[in-house]
Every structure is written in C-alpha cells, then in structure tokens.
C-alpha cells in the first residue's frame, strides 16, 4: 500500500494526480526554499526596498523566535492548568512578575544568576501549590467563581508588588558568559572592499530560545511518556472517570498547578534578564499567554508552542514593518482563529 493517511479522508484527491497532503508538502518545500535563499543569498535591491534590509529582516525573525520561546514558557503553564482544571488562571501574569522579582532578589543576594532562575521556579511552584490548596480546591467545580477569584488575586498581587519593589525598572544581570553578542554564519552585506558583514546576535537570546525548546520537549515527554502524564491526559479528557478509577485527583491537580506556576516564575527570571522587570509586565504577559492559548488551542502543549510561534513572529515583524498597527496584528490573528477554528489550532472542541 502506498496510501498515505491524508487521502484516506479524501479519496477523490487521488484521481487529480496529487493528494492534499502532497500539495501541502510542495507548498511547504517552496516556502522553505525561498526562506533558505533569503537567509543565505545576497539580497537584490528590489527585495531590500520591500523589506528594509537583510539584517532587519533576519533580526526580526530571530527576535520573533526568541520572543516565541518566552511566550511559550509562560503560556505552557497556563494551558496545562486550563486543560486539566478548566480553570482560567488570570493571576498567571502575576506569577510571572513575582517570579522575576524573586529571581532578581536571589541573583543579587547570591551573585549567581542560575540560583536566581532556580529560585524563580521553586518559589513560584510553592506559591502555586499554596494557591491551589487554599483557594482553588475550596471552589472546585465553580469555574466562574475561580476565574473571578484569580482576577482579585492578580489585582491585590500587583499592588503588593508595587508597594514592595516600587515602580523602578529592574534588570536581572546575566552572567558574563551569557552576555554579549555572537557572529552568526550569515552574511548580511558585503562592503565595497569585499569584506563580508556577518549577522551579530545577542548570545543570551539564543539561549532563551534553546531552553524553551528543551523545556517544551521535556513537557511533551512528561505528558506523553510518563505515568503522571497519562493521569494528566486522562484528567483532561474526563476528570470524574479519572477520580473514579482510584487516582488521587487532588494530587494530580496540585502537581500540575505547581508546575504551571513554576514555569511562569522561571519565564519571569529568563524574560526579566532578556528584557526587564517593571510593574505592568503581569498584564502584558497574561494577555500574551491568553492570545497564545486561544490561537494554539486551550489545554494543548503543542498548541501553545504553535501559538507562541505565530504570535511572537507576528509581533516582531509587525514592530519592524508597520509599527503603528503592529499591535493590531496579534488580535487580527486571534479574531481569525476564533472565526475559523474557535477551539484553536490544536484544540479539541470542548
């Protein structure tokens, strides 16, 4: 049998010589080829006229990818918690900001950035655990009430953090070995004397992207390859059946909530080092992760990755090529998703 899975759903396509899947493959190949050419070739003048410069374009793509990594870290916790508990945790942004401040304090105190990162994760995991046990467990099954409580928590937390850390902008300093820029093997221009100008990119941002990918793969393995993961998946599908089959659902909930909060805290430290920490970040990242999971599909890790990628790239490309209306682009994407596929790209209908 040479049949691919694609034409099983659409047997008619075979008679047209090419299946839908094959057509899609050709399109992807063409796009990939064009992209590779754009990365490695010298740009002709008409392309520069359209896209400003090769350096601007490639930097926007790379920044989009690293921003997507950051969004993914924040949104993955959000989507995990939602998928399992049907709880839209609107205090998720506050967890991000608190993690960033905690990371800053620990990094300053010990002098080791990595300890700051670890502290951001661990402290926020504990905070998440406490939130789950003291607040959400009491309101189990009352989705609307839980959501309202999380709004309340986020408002109170924002003011408490403003009172303690003030309005000053903090920058978590990355260690020397992570800072600075590196040359990528991509030529952006050739000077008149023949020397090649290479693309220079901050090293730390590549690390952000790399760690987001590692954490993403780790999460995927955890969900799909471990026992606790199978419990989580079962819980997403049918909470009551999972409880009935003898699993301690509260234990699973607590683990997931702690993991989600911890990831938000970790993202806070990582993001606070790449960008900065200031009041208002909580709302920004809450909004970003909301958009990411709406586009990607609530409750799906892969969906969060895809959503983060789309939103991150859209934000950066919008910022460079049409800054005034760039903000709208993200929401246009969200509206289109909601109109065509309301459950999100990877979401299942609820």
């Amino acid at each position: 049998m040479t049949d691919t899975s694609g034409n099983r759903s659409n047997p008619l396509a075979q008679s047209q010589g090419m299946t839908r899947r094959q057509a899609l493959g050709v399109v992807v190949l063409v796009v990939a080829a064009v992209f590779v050419w754009m990365v490695f070739a010298q740009w002709p003048d008409w392309l520069k006229a359209v896209l400003i410069s090769k350096k601007a374009f490639l930097s926007a793509i790379l920044n989009g990818l690293t921003l997507a990594g950051l969004y993914f870290l924040v949104a993955s916790g959000f989507t995990l918690v939602f998928g399992l508990m049907r709880n839209v945790n609107l205090a998720h942004g506050s967890l991000y900001l608190l993690g960033a401040y905690i990371g800053y304090e620990f990094a300053e105190w010990t002098g080791y950035w990595l300890i700051g990162v670890a502290a951001g994760f661990l402290v926020l995991a504990v905070v998440g655990l406490v939130m789950q046990i003291t607040v959400f467990r009491r309101l189990e099954g009352q989705d609307l009430r839980q959501t309202l409580v999380t709004i309340g928590i986020s408002v109170v937390a924002a003011d408490l953090m403003l009172a303690y850390w003030g309005g000053t902008t903090y920058q978590i300093l990355t260690p020397r070995w992570l800072s600075g820029a590196i040359k990528l093997p991509v030529v952006t221009a050739v000077r008149s004397n023949g020397t090649e100008v290479f693309l220079v990119y901050p090293f730390y941002r590549l690390i952000v992207l790399f760690s987001a990918i590692v954490i993403g793969i780790g999460l995927w393995l955890l969900i799909n390859r471990t026992r606790i993961g199978s419990m989580i998946r079962a819980g997403v599908d049918d909470r009551d059946m999972l409880a009935a089959s003898g699993v301690n659902v509260h234990f699973v909930f607590a683990i997931v909530f702690a993991l989600g909060a911890g990831l938000a805290g970790l993202a806070g430290v990582v993001g606070g080092s790449a960008l900065s920490v200031a009041p208002g970040e909580d709302i920004r990242y809450l909004l970003a992760s909301l958009v990411v999971v709406i586009v990607g599909g609530m409750g799906s890790i892969v969906g969060a990755a895809i959503g983060a990628l789309i939103i991150g790239l859209a934000e950066q490309i919008g910022l460079v090529y049409f800054p005034t209306y760039g903000v709208v682009l993200t929401f246009v994407i969200m509206v289109i998703t909601l109109a065509i596929r309301p459950q999100g790209i990877m979401g299942r209908s609820l």
Partner: protein, 415 residues
C-alpha cells in the same frame, strides 16, 4: 424588611463616609488634587512627581493662606482615558477646585479637553509636555508653568550638529504626542543647521523588545536620537548595549532623566557622554537649585537628584500655592480671581524665572546637558549650557510657527 434594613445600612454608611469629609473641607482646608501615573510603565515617574509636589507643600509648611492643604491623589497609567477618569473622580467625587496633573503627553491633551467642561475648576499641568496641550485650541482654565517637549530641546540640535559633528541621525521614539513634540523640537534646530534624519522609528508605548527596531536602524547614521521614557528607555538602552551598539546616542529629555539613570542594569557604558536637553540639569550650581535639591531629598525614596517630573510638579504646585496665597485661599467665585492671578504670575524657580504667554504656557530657561559619572559613581546630567527664556514657538514668530503644522509622525521631515 430585609431589603429595607439593608438599604438603610447602605445609606447610613454612605452618609457616614461622605459627610465628614465635606464638612472638614469647608471649614479650614483647601483640597488640591494631584494626578500622576502611579501605575503602569511610568509608575516610577509618577512616584517622583509626587515627591516634587510634596516638596512645594513642605516649603509652605503644609498651609496656604492659613488653611491646611489637603492633598488628594489620583492615579492614571499614562493612557488618556485613565487620566480623564482619574481627573473626573478628583473633580466630581472629591470636589477639588485645584488640580495638578497629568504627567504624560496624551494625558495632558485629554485633560485639557476635559477642563473645558469644568470651567469652575482650575487645572495646572503636571509634567505633560505635548505641544498642543496649550498651543492649538487651549482651555481657558488650563495653565502650564512647566514647558513643552519642543522647548526642552532648545540648544540640542545645534550642539549635536556643530560641536559633536553628527550630520545624519536616526530617531527612535514612542508613538504619541509627547515624543512627536520632542522630535519636532530637536529636528527644528538640527535640520536648520544642515543635518538630515533619514529614518524615524515610532514604537508603541510599553514596548519591551527593541532588538528588531535596533536592527532596522540604518548602519550609516552618525548617531541615534532616542526619546523614550521610564521602563521603555531602560529596555532600549540595555538591548542596544547587548546588540553591541556602535553609534553614539542623543537623548530626549526623559531618556536621560534620573528616573532612567538610576535604573538597575548595564546602562552605564552606553549612556556616559550622551548629550541631551531639558528643563533641569543635575549639576546646576545655582543656589536656588541646590536648595531645591536639598529640600527634595527629604522626601521618601528620593533620587540622588530631582527628576524633571519632580521639578515640573514642584513648579506647578508652587504656582498654585503662590496664587492661592495672593487670593487668600478664596475660590468662592468659581476660582475666577485665582485664575487671573495665575495668568499674571511670574516667579523665581530653582531653574530661573518663569512667566506665562497668552496661551498660559510657560516661558523658561532650558538646559543643555551631557551624561557623566559623578564622584560617587552615580550618573548625572552635567550642565553644558543654558538657553535663557525659551518660549513655546522657539523664538519663531507665532504665525510662522503655526504654519509649520501640528507635530506628528511625519512632521517635521528632512531625510
């Protein structure tokens, strides 16, 4: 029965809450509202503006014309609608007759428009510095004793072109009325001197990730003019540093302000030597500035030197108090006498003489500065030159100045 009891309770509570404040206010205190950004990206700026206002009140011993000053705070987040909401709350609920604020450019234009609907309330600007708050379509009861963003740039364009030798400059600024005004002020001089500005980047306020913007700046410019404030400036500067930024910078007034110079991070290297201009200079050695600086430092959490926000709120608050003293605290005629006194008021500030033009916008001295490191390692704005008594039209006749058009993304332009 149950509902009745509840309604009674609510009524009792409501009267209990409102009645005492009303009666106290009538007796022997004057309510002054202070509107600033105590939340959002400009929170740290708002906090410092409050210190400035308090410095002026402390100077008067907390009393004016024998009455206690009662300060009521309103908070916005730098968006015009939040500023109007806070102003409405102060005016319509708290009943202030004198309001100082707001802090940010678009807020100023929105509050000016709101002022037109409240002719009995007197509005004094905080530190908002968009040109059209007072230049076009002004409100009769809105006074600005602090100057606007174009005035603040006095001297910078010529200095950059002649002394620094920058002939081609790219600009990066936030996308709203105040940075438009600053870029206008800078380019008015710079383009006249013969410089060109081939690329202007406008970024949304509260943007975090500037690396794409930095990458899109042409490589062949001599310098980059940056007009960003608060957290935005810190983000841009540290990312510019990370990207191995080569071109030197020219600062907008609030980009190299104390609110940014004191931020925690690796800003030192990119900032030292950056020329800028504004209504204050940290190393101003006049006695009046030193006294003001010392009085300011008594406030909680003060910076090593007052920011221009503290300065602007101080000046406007002081103007209000001086005028209140002159009318003996009498606002019973809807503040008419008070406003008459204000429009003729002329007084010595820590930064020289201030008076108003016919649009109630200040004429004052401007300071050309350069960021340098003080002996104790903190960054300060070193005074280079004073441009005396700059008016809103930058010395150009008014009709000619108005013909230049309203500031915007495209205006002015000299590519």
């Amino acid at each position: 029965m149950n509902i009745n009891r509840r309604t009674l309770l609510a009524l009792a509570l409501a009267t209990g809450l409102t009645a005492p404040t009303l009666s106290v206010a009538q007796a022997d205190s004057i309510k002054i509202g202070v509107l600033a950004t105590f939340e959002g990206a400009f929170a740290v700026l708002g906090e410092d503006s409050e210190r400035g206002a308090l410095t002026a009140i402390d100077e008067f011993g907390g009393k004016v014309a024998g009455k206690d000053i009662e300060l009521i705070k309103g908070s916005s987040d730098a968006s015009p609608d939040s500023a109007v909401r806070a102003a409405r709350k102060l005016v319509e609920q708290d009943g202030v007759k004198v309001l100082i604020g707001p802090l940010s450019g678009d807020e100023g234009i929105a509050v000016k428009d709101y002022a037109k609907t409240q002719p009995d309330v007197t509005f004094l600007n905080g530190s908002s510095a968009a040109q059209d708050t007072t230049l076009r379509n002004p409100a009769e009861n809105f006074f600005r004793f602090s100057t606007d963003g174009a005035q603040w740039m006095a001297g910078l364009g010529n200095y950059a072109f002649n002394e620094k030798g920058y002939h081609k400059v790219a600009t990066v600024a936030e996308d709203y009325s105040f940075p438009y005004t600053q870029v206008f002020g800078f380019m008015a001089e710079f383009c006249k001197a013969g410089g060109t500005v081939p690329s202007k980047s406008w970024v949304p306020i509260g943007n975090k990730d500037y690396s794409s913007v930095i990458a899109a700046i042409p490589d062949d410019v001599d310098a980059i003019y940056v007009a960003l404030g608060g957290a935005d400036a810190v983000n841009f500067l540290s990312q510019y540093n990370d990207a191995g930024g080569q071109a030197p910078l020219i600062g907008g007034s609030i980009t190299v302000d104390q609110t940014v110079l004191t931020a925690k991070g690796r800003l030192h290297d990119v900032l030292v030597g950056t020329p800028a201009a504004g209504p204050t200079a940290d190393t101003n050695d006049s006695q009046a500035w030193k006294d003001f600086s010392a009085a300011y430092k008594k406030q909680d959490g003060a910076f090593p030197s007052p920011s221009l926000f503290a300065h602007a709120y101080y000046i406007n608050m002081k103007a209000a108090l001086l005028a209140l003293q002159e009318v003996n605290g009498d606002l019973s005629d809807g503040g008419k006498k008070f406003r008459e006194v204000l429009s003729k008021l002329e007084f010595e500030t820590p930064t020289g003489k201030v008076s108003l033009d016919e649009n109630r916008n200040a004429i004052a001295d401007m300071f050309l500065t350069e960021v340098s490191e003080a002996d104790d390692g903190t960054l300060v704005n070193k005074l280079i030159k004073v441009t005396p008594q700059v008016n809103q039209t930058l010395g150009i006749p008014k009709d000619e100045f108005l013909a230049l058009g309203a500031v915007s993304r495209e205006n002015p332009s000299c590519p």
